[in-house]
Amino acid sequence: MTRTIRCVATVVALFCATAASAAKFGTTERFVREFRLNTNGTLWIDNPFGNVEIVGGNVANVTVRAQKTVTGIDDAAIREALDQTQLTTTGSPQTLIIRTLLPAARTERWMSVVHYAVSVPSTVHVKISSQMSDRLRVANVSGGANIKNVNGAIVIENVTGPVVADTVNGDITYDPSGSPTNGVQLSSVNGQIEVAVTPEASFQWIGKTIRGDFRTNLPVSGRMSGTTFRGGINGSRGATITTATMMGNVFVLKKGTKAEQTQSVRSIVGTAAAGGVGPAILVKSFHATLVDGDFTFNTPLGNVSVGQVRGRARVTTRAGEVGLGIVLGECTVTSFGGPLSFGDIVGFLNARTSAGDVVINSARAGGFAATDGGMIRVLHAGAAMTLRSGGGDILVANANGSINAETRSGDVTITVAPQVRRSPIYAKTSQGNVVLNVSPQFAADIDATLITADEDAEIRSDFAGLAVRRDQVGQKTRIRFTGKVNGGGDRVELFAEDGTIQITGESRPVVISPSLP
């Protein structure tokens, strides 16, 4: 008996608590309205948060069913949410605009979503703008559709007019119920695109993707050119469907089949460049702690991270981050975009990136490093190094061999190891400063040139006995500092424009900033 009472009491308490919390934390309002809209008119729904479903039919008017759901931390917040989530209607019989208005600055105290279910005359054109939703769906409309959102799926069914669908993270499903008869543009940044057509449907297909793939189980012809496919389905007749997704896949399916039943278009058609079959996989990353031997890796897109390579390393990526810890042999890395970082490279280093920083902890055999834009930092250069940056600082903290460093814009700072008494140095910046730190015994033939519009600018040197010449070059002053230090040695050529040149004759610890990863 006691047990029964306890159970009943628990159930009742749970029920009461649930009811109380429901009453406190949320509520829903529903609206139904009817509007007149011309048969060739446009319906525009702007609803930031919530689903929208528009279905065309043999009806004379537009019927809008809206459900406003709000949740809040207390009753006042809920009242505020209801109050500040406004549904408005404007326009004319030619253009009907239904809009959900929310305050510009969102509060943490409440949330609101509005779901719309709308029936329209099938001949109208529909436009939907949304930010977050589970799904936006348009069906049975011949006037075309224009749909844009950030998050949430877009489903377009039996829409025979022109279609434009654009989402950031959502998937797009398009089913024209036959062959598309008008132009269709479907684009998603991170989602996938699926087009389902009848087996005999024929259309032109332009597809673009960076990380994804094009797949179909229909007869396809065409050509891959880089990340773009141009071709068609069933003979490429009729309208053009353009599918663009950055990171997702594109599927063109026979209606009723599944994505698993498709094959990659790359494996079917040839590439424009080679006339051969395109790579089936676009994205390939590699992560390993140890590669016992030579390491060769080539990917159109992907990151590479290896702790140690006990041989030579040769890495190429069109875009991606490359990080190699220890490489015992030669190291050649090419990236068309992305930062490069190296630990201890024992062999000759050859590193290039089209964009991004290059960080080298140790290049024992020296080498070459270049970036079209970004900083280059070398903590230890065991031998001669050539460094090039299209814009960004170059820093060599401990140079044991000759340094040839040039940047289009940025500072060049080179600290020659204290035990090095002579070494050729070339440092040039077209906009920035050049700082050379050498030991007091460093012997060199100095040739430093500073071109500047600053009248107070000057070349600073700890070494006496250098000749200074100052002349005018156009609107700027050229200051040239030449001479031998410590009896003369290898040539040290420094060039800076719109900055300063500083030559210090002391061993000074170099502060790496920002700190290395």
Partner: protein, 330 residues
């Protein structure tokens, strides 16, 4: 004030006079006026007195010479000035001979200056008069656009929550205070935005800001705005890269601060010619989205545009897409 102007006071007297002038608006105004007049007098051309005017003047003056109390020039001013000059020269020469830091050789012949980077905890040597001002006693408003140079940052004791900003204006000044002090913030903002002569100084200032203002308790929208301004206006790519690096490390304590950061990053992503700056901007936006910070419509549109832009660096496009993938419900 005349004594102060003619360097006729000893160091303690000068310091006391300066302190009073700073706290007394009337004296401050008078001091500025006197300095201006003094300067104007110095700049006036020396014109030889015509002989007939001189003769007339002497003729008129000489008969009265006996009844006029002879003007005895106070020797102290000149003497002290000479002594000060000797001390300054001797001190300067001594330091120049002793120091191991760089000696600056002026291009028109060798000249010794005191320029040297200040290391942490290292005492400051300067041949100029040095003044230490507590930030709390200063007005945070910087009037005009003073030409400040040789900016250095000091944190003698990292535990005491005090920092120092040293610079040269008409004299060497060190302003000390908490990083949260409005005067310190204004001064750093000014240094970040108004030191066109040396990108190195600005880079150092940015590094200093990153070290100091990354702590959430020191988050300040004014610093963020200053960095955003650097990112927008600076020609030097290395400095812009530093600025964007620092911006993403500052805590978005204030809404306006977060907005300023976001706007600066979006602007850099859209317009910066250097791909590395754009990469860092897009990475920062991705990090913001990842950490739950909301991205407004402008940010989303820019990222969207970048992700789809065929001629943009592929890595930037991929990063833009990654940033967009982190966007959740706001």
């Amino acid at each position: 004030m005349p004594l102060l102007l003619t360097w006729s006071l000893d160091a303690a007297g000068r310091e006391a006079a300066h302190r009073h002038i700073e706290t007394c608006p009337e004296c401050h105004e008078e001091w500025l006026s006197m300095k201006d007049t003094w300067q104007v007098l110095a700049d006036l051309p020396q014109v030889d007195v015509p002989p007939h005017v001189r003769d007339r003047f002497l003729a008129a003056a000489l008969p009265q010479q006996a009844v006029v109390i002879p003007f005895r020039r106070r020797p102290a001013a000149r003497w002290l000035a000479q002594a000060a000059a000797v001390v300054v020269l001797a001190g300067g020469a001594y330091f120049a001979g002793q120091r191991t830091a760089p000696v600056r050789l002026a291009p028109r012949g060798a000249a010794v200056t005191a320029a040297q980077p200040m290391m942490q905890g290292q005492p400051v040597y300067s041949i100029a008069e040095t003044r230490v001002l507590p930030a709390a006693s200063m007005s945070p408003n910087i009037e005009g656009r003073p030409d400040i140079e040789n900016v250095q940052f000091v944190d003698a004791d990292p535990r005491d929550g005090q920092i120092g900003v040293a610079f040269d204006v008409t004299q060497h000044v060190t302003v000390t205070g908490s990083p949260a002090d409005k005067s310190v913030v204004r001064l750093l903002s000014y240094v970040l935005q108004n030191d066109p002569k040396s990108s190195t100084a600005r880079s150092q200032a940015i590094d200093w800001v990153r070290q100091t203002y990354s702590e959430p308790r020191y988050a300040n929208p004014e610093i963020t705005q200053a960095l955003a301004s650097v990112l927008h206006n600076e020609q030097h790519e290395g400095v812009r890269i530093r600025a964007v690096d620092t911006l993403q490390k500052l805590p978005p304590k204030f809404t306006s601060s977060g907005d300023a950061t976001r706007e600066a990053l979006i602007d850099a992503l859209k317009n910066d010619p250097n791909p590395s700056v754009r990469i860092k901007a897009v990475e920062a936006l991705a990090r913001m989205a990842n950490s739950g910070q909301s991205l407004d419509q402008a940010a989303v549109d820019t990222l969207r545009q970048k992700a789809a832009q065929g001629d943009e660096n592929l890595y930037v496009r991929v990063k833009a897409a990654e940033a967009l993938s982190k966007i959740g419900p706001r």
